[in-house]
Symmetry: C2
Subunit: 111 residues, 2 copies
């Protein structure tokens, strides 16, 4: 995690810092899922097969803490929670799309 | 590591696959170091402060195994080993540059 990084040297590489925000198995998929629409927790869970609710909750909390998505809770019964990509998150989208194209062309298609 | 990933589901996300190739603390820095020039092991080590020779050797091996750089050994005394970005590695450079710009603007400059 970028915010937990201990020494200044590590902080100086902006590429590693960016990877720190979106790295891991699920975050690119969650961001992709929110790229154009606000979604409820249950909708995100339904669109990402094999993710547990516990892991999804953790990943959403980290993305919110890092400012890439925002969370809005409605005090209804049953409670409704919605997630939306923030402006910072949106600014990341074109790069994630480029990463996706590259990964598809040079890794997935060559397997 | 992408090549060690065990189940097919993980392999389907090209973004995670790409991050698998360049993730970690040192790989973006090593690729940056080789972006425009062939360099000897010692030159790379000298340009990356705080990296141990052991870790640099490991990281270079992984980058070579994943096809992002190539290694050429000259049978001289003392032995000379040179590393060059491959065509695949070069195709990644513009994306890494975009990641760098984003990380600088949204993470480093805001600290």
């Amino acid at each position: 995690m970028v915010t937990n990084t201990k020494n200044n040297h590590e902080m100086k590489c902006p590429v590693s810092a960016m990877i720190g925000l979106i790295g891991g198995k699920w975050k690119p998929i969650i961001l992709y899922c929110l790229r154009s629409e606000t979604r409820r927790f249950g909708e995100i869970a339904a669109r990402i097969p094999h993710i547990s609710r516990k892991v999804l909750t953790e990943q959403l909390k980290e993305l919110e803490r890092d400012g890439l998505i925002s969370r809005q809770q409605f005090n209804e019964i049953p409670p409704r929670v919605e997630y939306t990509m923030s402006e910072v998150g949106k600014s990341l989208s074109p790069i994630i799309q480029e990463m996706e194209k590259w990964g598809q062309q040079y890794i997935i298609d060559r397997q």
